[in-house]
């Protein structure tokens, strides 16, 4: 028996019983589609969390200034003018500290031409973009000279660019912030949502000195509301935290029994918690994916076992009229192979389409991995081929008379 006629014999046999072929293929389709869909949704969710985590910047501490009290009313962190640019410079010299980004935030209306938009305006130093891992996409960053001279320059977040400019390149244009003209020197790369869902791109960055002296009138020159501190490494964040507390207590001349007039928060912990959540999520989805694969595999196994065992008599007839064992095995192997390849491809297509539909419908991100598809395909195909082949082999090993007697 030559190879082309074995292939056509297998194809004829599959075409001759469309219901059986369809059902067997369905097992394969469902197994593969379930895994691809499940993991596409899972990986998408994990990516979303990971991006939010990394958008914060890495190894970060935040120092907030202390609270003020007006009589018995305590105003909360960040209201007292206890942190200064001097503190920032001193912290920057600590051994565990990589960089410090003192920040002076405010809000205001920004305008260009006939468009205007209310947004967050952050007074920052050149370190801010590197500490927050927020690169300038086009144009120039804020430089040291801008800080020294308190120039009216601005970096725009992607959302602000969208609100103020249609198709124009914002770099070099003059916008107004709280009525004052600022030159746009650059545009920041899109950063996406923060962990708590705020749109981080809805921000304008200006030199901190400009914010302090020109934009938001300040009764206490040189003070900042909060600063981001980047530790040299993940391990150094706790040590950096202790060093900063000691240094600031010393600089602020706080008595040993008095409370701090500032607060240090370790953002790494928050990031770790979020990463751990994402990791658990992905493990869980991996587990669900594996279960789908096993369940799909069992489905494929069952239908293959039943449909091939049921054909024992057919195998007997074929052997009686001269099929060799090898002819029978190759035919059943090819049939299983064809079912698995077509079923697997259809399963991947349905899984991908389904994931897109779910993503669209539920407004969540989905991510596909060729690796997942390959594994789902390979495992299901291996199951299908094995359980299509093995009962055929058992039947072909019988004497023809025994196979013929099978009802």
């Amino acid at each position: 028996m030559n190879f082309p006629s074995i292939i056509s014999e297998a194809a004829r046999s599959l075409g001759a019983n469309k219901l059986r072929t369809g059902l067997t293929m369905l097992g394969m389709v469902i197994g593969v589609a379930a895994v691809v869909l499940m993991l596409a949704v899972g990986t998408g969710a994990q990516n979303q969390v990971n991006r939010a985590v990394s958008s914060m910047g890495s190894n970060l501490l935040v120092i907030l200034s202390g609270s003020t009290s007006a009589g018995t009313i305590r105003m909360g962190s960040g209201n007292a003018p206890t942190l200064t640019t001097g503190d920032a410079e001193a912290i920057a010299k600590l051994p565990n500290v990589q960089a410090v980004a003192p920040t002076f935030p405010g809000g205001g209306q920004v305008a260009y031409g006939i468009s205007n938009w209310g947004t967050q305006v952050l007074g920052v130093t050149p370190e801010y973009t590197s500490v927050r891992d927020w690169p300038v996409e086009s144009g120039e960053p804020i430089g040291e000279t801008d800080i020294r001279s308190a120039t009216r320059v601005a970096l725009l977040g992607a959302t602000v660019v969208e609100k103020l400019f249609d198709t124009e390149d914002p770099v070099g244009k003059t916008i107004r912030i709280r009525g004052q003209p600022f030159q746009v020197v650059g545009v920041l790369k899109r950063k996406g949502q923060s962990l708590d869902g705020r749109d981080q791109d809805d921000s304008v960055l200006v030199p901190i000195t400009t914010a302090q002296s020109k934009l938001f009138g300040n009764r206490f020159p040189g003070t900042v509301r909060f600063m981001f501190v980047q530790a040299v490494s993940q391990e150094a964040t706790s040590a950096a935290e202790n060093d900063i507390v000691l240094l600031l207590r010393q600089r602020h001349r706080i008595q040993p029994d008095a409370d701090d007039d500032f607060t240090v928060r370790n953002l790494t912990q928050a990031a770790e918690a979020a990463s751990a959540t994402a990791r658990i999520l992905s493990l869980m989805l991996g587990a669900i994916g594996s279960i789908s694969l096993v369940v799909g595999g069992i489905g494929i196994m069952n239908i293959m076992l039943v449909s091939v065992t049921e054909r024992t008599r057919e195998i007997g007839i074929r052997m009686a009229i001269g099929a060799r064992q090898r002819d029978v095995l190759v035919q059943f192997l090819l049939e299983a192979l064809m079912i698995c390849i077509v079923g697997g491809l259809v399963g991947i297509a349905i899984g991908v389409a389904g994931a897109f539909a779910v993503g669209r419908f539920m407004q969540i991100e989905v991510a596909f991995s060729a690796w997942v598809m390959l594994v789902a395909f390979a495992v299901s195909a291996a199951t299908g081929i094995f359980f299509g082949f093995w009962p055929a082999r058992r039947a072909a090993a019988l004497k023809p008379v025994e196979a013929l007697r099978y009802e």
């Binding site: 028996m1 004829r12 001759a16 009686a320 009229i321 001269g322 060799r324 004497k399 023809p400 013929l404």
Partner: protein, 237 residues
Amino acid sequence: MAGRFIEVEHLGKVYEAAAPGTPAALQGVSLGIDQGEFVAVMGPSGSGKSTFMNVVGLLDSPTSGAYRLNGKDVSGLTTDELAHVRNRVFGFVFQGFNLLKRISAAENVALPMVYSGAPGAERRRRSLELLAKVGLAPYADAMPNRLSGGQQQRVAIARALANHPQLILADEPTGNLDTQTSMEIMDFFTALNRETGVTILLVTHENDIAQYAGRLIRFKDGHVVHDGPVAHEKAAE
């Protein structure tokens, strides 16, 4: 003794799965069959006639004794060689027809040629020729379940003839058919035996059917109890 087409000596067969105490299905059967003979094998059920047929057809193997086909001992043949003999030398016709249900009559007839490696066009040509010979030319592309029992059996006979066999093994070929159809089938076998000289080994339990053969072998309890020319009862009446 060399030169006989089929020769069995002291053939014995014991089924492994048989209940203890059951007598062996074949107990030392020795006989020979020559080319061109039309042999009917008769006997009550359990007499060993079907077992004898399966052993001769190489669908089953004996537990003892020798079986020479064209002077060659078949006990040393590999399963592939056995398949080759079944494919080229034998043609089978079963009581239950044993057609593949999901493929057409012509494709069923062509099946032995698939395994002998004939090209597709040749298979089609020969299967149509054979179907015409059994009177089923208009039904070439019909599915077996659309055909009557007699028509299905004729498809099975056409299939048995596909590779120009030397021996047709027919196990109760008329067992599922009415008298009229049975006679048509038997007339066809007789003509085939006379015209082409193909050897026919026919198992039956009906005297009327055995009448068509030239030689009658009777089995009982695994033994041959009668072997001789068919006594034509019709003539005796």
